[in-house]
């Protein structure tokens, strides 16, 4: 009997909305978008948590410039606050060392983190998911909580191929899909993503100077991507209220 699963339900009891930013495909902008989502929600006055579950290739700590934080222990682990977010990442413990984890370890690390983290009361917990349709996606579906999914895709045949599969899986497994964010639009691509038959929350253009804004939260939020993510959030909030 593993007591952690029971503990998780207790620790997420006071979280009103759990939103996982997923794709199956890598490099489509899940980390950028999930981080900006969390930041924008916090600016809107909500109580927000951000959890990076891409344990072997985390990125959110770079986007947030959060390399100096350490969580406090107090009847569990208290997520440090940064830019108004309660933020949890494995990099608190691994620093910038390689972290080769097999799937079973990834799954255990997720369950462990969720069972010791004391988020307290939250309006939104945003989860940044790793690429692949593997342990993390299956665990997010296995835990008994009211999780919703935001799908990120780019207008590329290669991204579309995997996203179609993920959507099929989530629908079959009664995963609630809020909608699709189409990222890195450059103008000349196919509009095939319209055939996904999912609500398109927002179309985000490719923004060439985004790179310079990584690690600088203020200019990230004011950037085109930052503003487009906010548009998507307005739709999401309307839906969930």
């Amino acid at each position: 009997m593993d007591p952690r699963i029971t503990a998780i339900n207790e620790h997420v009891k006071n979280i009103r909305n759990v939103i996982a930013v997923v794709s199956g495909k890598g490099g489509v902008g899940k980390s950028i978008i999930s981080t900006i989502m969390a930041l924008q929600l916090s600016r809107m006055g909500y109580k927000v948590g951000l959890l990076d579950t891409d344990f072997t290739s985390p990125a959110t700590h770079i986007i947030l410039n959060a390399e100096e934080l350490t969580p406090k222990e107090e009847k569990g682990v208290i997520p440090p606050e940064i830019h108004g977010l309660k933020y949890m990442t494995i990099t608190y413990y691994t620093k910038n060392n390689p972290t080769p984890l097999r799937g079973i370890d990834i799954s255990n690390a997720l369950i462990e983190l969720l069972s010791i983290t004391r988020w307290g009361e939250l309006d939104y917990l945003i989860i940044d998911a790793p690429p692949g349709i593997s342990d993390i996606i299956l665990d997010l579906l296995r835990i008994n909580w009211r999780i919703k999914f935001v799908i990120v895709v780019t207008p590329s045949k290669l991204a579309m191929e995997t996203v179609k599969k993920l959507i099929k899986l989530l629908e079959e497994q009664s995963g609630e899909i809020i909608g699709v964010i189409v990222n890195m639009i450059m103008g000349i691509e196919t509009n095939e993503y319209k055939k996904l038959n999912k609500k398109v929350l927002v179309e985000i253009p490719f923004q060439q100077d985004l790179e310079n804004k990584i690690g600088d939260v203020e200019s990230l939020l004011e950037s085109i991507v930052g503003r487009k993510v906010k548009e998507a959030l307005n739709l999401i909030i309307k839906e969930s209220s």
């Binding site: 029971t6 009847k75 494995i90 069972s115």
Partner: protein, 133 residues
Amino acid sequence: MHEWALAEAVVMSVLRIAKEKGLKEVKEVVIKIGELQQIDIEIFKFALSELKSERNLENVEFKLETIEAEMMCRKCGYRWKFKDESLSEDVKEAIHFIPEVAHTFMRCQKCGSPDFEIISGRGVWIESISGVT
């Protein structure tokens, strides 16, 4: 001190299992504690006793047993024990929170691979529960 979170997890699970099993009163709970996570047993026991009174489990006896942690390399098959590792306090602390972080800081003592299985001594779990139905 996330021993408290672990104790809470155990107590909540005990309550849930007792309900599922239809136990009117829980008498004894055997808890196994993996060495890898380096739980502070005294704090853990204290947390359990505090939680006992909060949750109407006064009469329960918690029996704790620590399980030695052992690793087996997936590359060369070598086995070694956690007690033979010499890790810094920082690293021990990290493994205390997320045992998987062992793969960041520990290596097979024979071939140097990070690709090993923790074959025993990971986690905290309830071995058995007995009581009155």
